[in-house]
Symmetry: C2
Subunit: 206 residues, 2 copies
């Protein structure tokens, strides 16, 4: 059996060429690297239809990264997938508070999700973050509330949880907030999609 060249960089380059060919449509040039990387990560072209960007979301994210912003994510899978080395080059780091003992304890005590408490923990740190939400719709709901209350000022919210219950609704709810966002409308998304969007933004800064 014949396999094409195994050089990872050439494979990635060829993959993006195939995506470009099959997309067959004009995308906003500044959004395009994000959309293409999500398709590269999922082999799912439906993201070209469902990814929604608030006005100048990408420009604002790039500026934040170049200013050393850190990223808060709601899954350790997301954290594992984000290029921490590239982010560190700009002075940022990736946080995931989901497994923190204080978060777990407070979530249990109040009968809310750890994802919601994680967002409160981020709000308490007195620092503006990019949020990369790939799993928990409750993280988006709590973020919207904290934004409305003026207790948190995200530089960007990546809202791409996946699922069948509350997920599509939580994304719409977040998009009504006064915050820059990149959201995958509907049910689809995931930690891998969250990490892909972060990495697309990071690679645009290099």
């Amino acid at each position: 059996m014949h396999f094409d060249t195994m050089d990872p960089q050439k494979i990635e380059q060829r993959s993006f060429e195939i995506i470009e060919q099959e997309l067959k449509r004009d995308l906003d040039p500044i959004q395009k690297p994000v959309i293409k990387r999500v398709i590269h990560t999922t082999a799912d072209f439906s993201y070209a239809d469902t990814l929604c960007f608030s006005d100048q979301a990408v420009e604002k994210a790039l500026a934040a990264i170049q200013n050393g912003v850190s990223i808060v994510t709601d899954t350790n899978m997301g954290k594992a997938g984000i290029s921490k080395q590239t982010l560190a080059g700009f002075g940022g780091q990736v946080h995931c508070f989901m497994a923190d003992e204080d978060v777990a304890g407070e979530a249990k005590r109040r009968g809310v999700t750890r994802a919601a408490v994680s967002m409160e923990k981020a709000a308490g740190l007195g620092e503006d973050f990019i949020f990369a939400i790939g799993n928990a719709p409750t993280a988006l709901i709590r973020l919207r509330e904290l934004i409305d209350e003026g207790r948190i000022h995200p530089r960007l919210v990546i809202g791409v949880p996946v699922g069948f219950v509350n997920v599509a609704e939580a994304k719409e709810y977040l998009m009504e907030a006064d915050v820059p966002y990149i959201v995958a409308r509907g049910r689809k998304g995931g930690s891998n999609v969250a990490a892909a969007i972060c990495n697309a933004l990071l690679y645009m800064c290099v």
Copy 2:
């Protein structure tokens, strides 16, 4: 805005009910929990068509888990997503050799991928594993070669890399080997899908 109950267990239960309703077809009862969990992880029903199981693949995997098999994966995202606690309950652990210095060094020296060298490292450990391949087609290609040479005896190969170059072909190549497999035919898959299949199998053992 109204959101349904936030209890994570109830949300998961309701999600699986929705998947069951929308699937509208009869699946093999032993394969069904695997297929449903992949759909739960991706919100992508096309996996009901593309997931391929070798004869008694699930039964063999469950027996291996119950006998304390360990899992080798080709991504740290996959490792982050697999329920290591459940696996540890049976005596197994999750390995990812991709970032190991010896693997990186040898890959560079020989001009092959770290994924391919990772498979050789697993073969050298004198232990039978479940392989969960969510990223690198070269891992599947090298596994097929090692299986053909009798140097490795996987208890199961989960073959779900995602991508546009060599990916669909590498999956077909692996399926021709004499090995139990669960493969997502075509381009789709990913670390999240690999972890979801592992977790579905683990939860069937509990």
